[in-house]
């Protein structure tokens, strides 16, 4: 038990990548268009929606975990889905945590554009799909910041992951929850090994994304 079990570390890491990757992709797929839409248009309830997004960004992840748990557990409104303590529940919780981050940062990036930028592109007579492409290109830096922030938040989340996933071996055990477990068990070798993997993952992913982000500035 006091050994570094490589196969186990690999299994936990792959699962972490799968769950966090899925959450990240969904958050981006939902959050980027939402952030762009909120950033451009000015409509009636916009201020209210933006404050909601900002509150979401600041919401403690454990609170999110609790809310999701209350929704998904047996006696909760979505209990019939039997999603509690499954990877799906963890993905859901992570999406709820990351979505406000993506929306908030994206809408800030869009809002930083000149007021008539949109108008100027429109008067060029470009078809809508290309207008969107130009917009994405323009806010590229902000978008990548959103991705990095969301990824960081998702990968490092432990409280909510534990609450809705329960760290079940072979099912919902990810790097963060495993680290907590091994420390609690006094198995520091494994804990440090997993922590090293997690840090390495973060550094590599963030490094790659930052390189992409900064390459756009040259």
């Amino acid at each position: 038990m006091a050994t570094l079990e490589t196969a186990l570390i690999v299994e936990i890491t792959l699962r972490t990548l799968a769950i966090c990757g899925a959450a990240l992709l969904v958050s981006l797929a939902l959050g980027l268009p939402l952030g762009i839409a909120l950033g451009r248009r000015h409509f009636g309830g916009r201020v209210a929606l933006v404050s909601l997004v900002n509150s979401g960004m600041g919401a403690p992840p454990v609170v999110v975990g609790l809310v999701v748990a209350l929704l998904l557990w047996r006696h909760g409104p979505l209990g019939v889905l039997h999603l509690m303590y499954t990877p799906v529940a963890m993905v859901v919780a992570q999406i709820v945590i990351a979505l406000p981050l993506v929306v908030g940062i994206t809408l800030a990036a869009v809002g930083a554009l000149d007021e008539d930028w949109e108008l100027q592109v429109r008067t060029l007579g470009l078809p809508p799909r290309w207008r969107r492409g130009l917009l994405l290109c323009e806010i590229r830096l902000g978008l990548l910041a959103a991705v990095i922030a969301a990824m960081g938040g998702i990968l490092s989340e432990v409280g909510a992951a534990l609450m809705v996933g329960a760290n079940l071996e072979g099912e919902t055990r990810v790097l963060t929850t495993a680290i907590v477990m091994y420390v609690g068990m006094g198995e520091y070798e494994m804990a440090i090994g997993l922590a090293a993997v997690l840090m390495g993952l973060m550094l590599v992913l963030t490094g790659v994304l930052t390189a992409v982000q900064q390459s756009g500035r040259r």
């Binding site: 060029l124 130009l134 756009g216």
Partner: protein, 360 residues
């Protein structure tokens, strides 16, 4: 020189409501003709930008229509052109995205547009690193790459120094001639307008006060307000009287009169307008025109290109221009007494209280 009307506005009415209040733009008739530049002048808040945006199709008119007989797009170049992330070449190419052009064709058109405005050497530069003048050229290249039928320009010479303005206007003039595009240009600066204008439209309080060939508007403004907008800064009130030699004069006061050529009745109250360039300081060499009396020099402002002289005459302040650095500009001092002269045909008369009418 005027070609077919490529864009026509008829009975146009645009209403805007802002925090400051409501504003209505009302244009009875306006045409933009191929190969011709219409400069739209007017004080701030007159509705110039609104008119331009309406012509671009960005406004929802409450009434009226804008018809386009154009075979190509109507393109608006903004006062502060947007520089997209990427190279200058990409910025110009962006305008052609999604139109199904072949790559070779697209590159050729981009190159042509860049060369038109002499920024082909800037093609690989990041658009964000361009200077103000370079950015303006980029915006124009981007507009021309679309092969527009109608080009609408909002302050195209903003941020440019005198030589920049001169060189850009040359390139623009050439491009307009080459492509036969109909151009409308909005500016608050008369001199910049005159760099390109074939016709001038003066907008006052949302209405077309006067629209005519450039020289007609400059020399024959219909109202004092229009006169001020087109730079006829010398405007004095007077009465038409008979001159001793059988002609007419405008009597400003007991001691000051200006000789004029007019068919107006004597006793008619008028504004007499003289463009500064037509008001001469008589140095006794002749050819300046008929003397209209003495004036005291109030100030001489020399900007290296021209010297602007303010003079006190008949209780009014008149202005004239002298070539900088030349004899008179150098020697004239405030307080000096000079003789003013003008050619009668250069004095434009506006009968008092004539309603302004637009002419096509």
């Amino acid at each position: 020189m005027s070609g077919a009307a490529l864009l026509s506005a008829r009975e146009l009415r645009v209403e805007r409501r802002s925090r400051r209040g409501s504003f209505t733009l009302q244009i009875d008739a306006l045409d933009l003709r191929a190969g011709e530049v219409l400069a739209i002048l007017g004080p701030n808040g007159a509705g110039k930008s609104t008119l331009l945006r309406a012509l671009a199709g960005l406004e929802h008119p409450a009434r009226g229509a804008i018809d386009s007989a154009a075979a190509g797009p109507i393109t608006l170049v903004f006062q502060r052109p947007a520089a997209f992330a990427g190279s200058v070449a990409h910025n110009v190419a962006a305008a052609l995205l999604g139109r199904g052009l072949e790559r070779a064709q697209l590159e050729r058109r981009v190159r042509e547009a860049l060369e038109r405005f002499e920024i082909a050497s800037l093609a690989p530069r990041r658009a964000h690193t361009l200077s103000g003048g370079e950015l303006r050229r980029l915006a124009l290249a981007r507009a021309f790459v679309l092969a527009p039928a109608v080009l609408l320009l909002d302050e195209p010479f903003d941020d440019l120094d005198a030589s920049g303005q001169a060189s850009l206007s040359l390139d623009l003039r050439r491009a307009i001639g080459d492509t036969g595009v109909a151009v409308a240009m909005v500016t608050h600066d008369l001199r910049r307008a005159l760099l390109l204008a074939d016709r001038i439209a003066v907008l006052l309080e949302g209405r077309l006060a006067q629209i005519d060939r450039r020289d007609s508007v400059l020399e024959k403004p219909r109202t004092p307000e229009i006169a001020r907008v087109v730079g006829m800064s010398n405007l004095v009130r007077g009465v038409v009287v008979a001159a001793p030699d059988g002609g007419r004069r405008v009597e400003v006061d007991a001691h000051h009169a200006i000789p004029v050529r007019t068919a107006l009745e004597t006793g008619c109250g008028v504004w007499a307008g003289i463009r500064p360039e037509h008001l001469k300081i008589d140095v006794g060499r002749g050819g300046s025109g008929i003397a209209i009396g003495k004036a005291v020099v109030r100030s001489v402002v020399d900007d290296g290109v021209a010297a602007s002289v303010a003079l006190a005459w008949a209780g009014e302040e008149l202005h004239t221009h002298l070539l900088a650095g030349r004899g008179l500009a150098r020697s004239l001092e405030p307080g000096a007494l000079v003789v003013l002269a003008v050619q009668p045909e250069h004095v434009h008369l506006i009968p008092v209280a004539e309603a302004p009418r637009a002419a096509g």
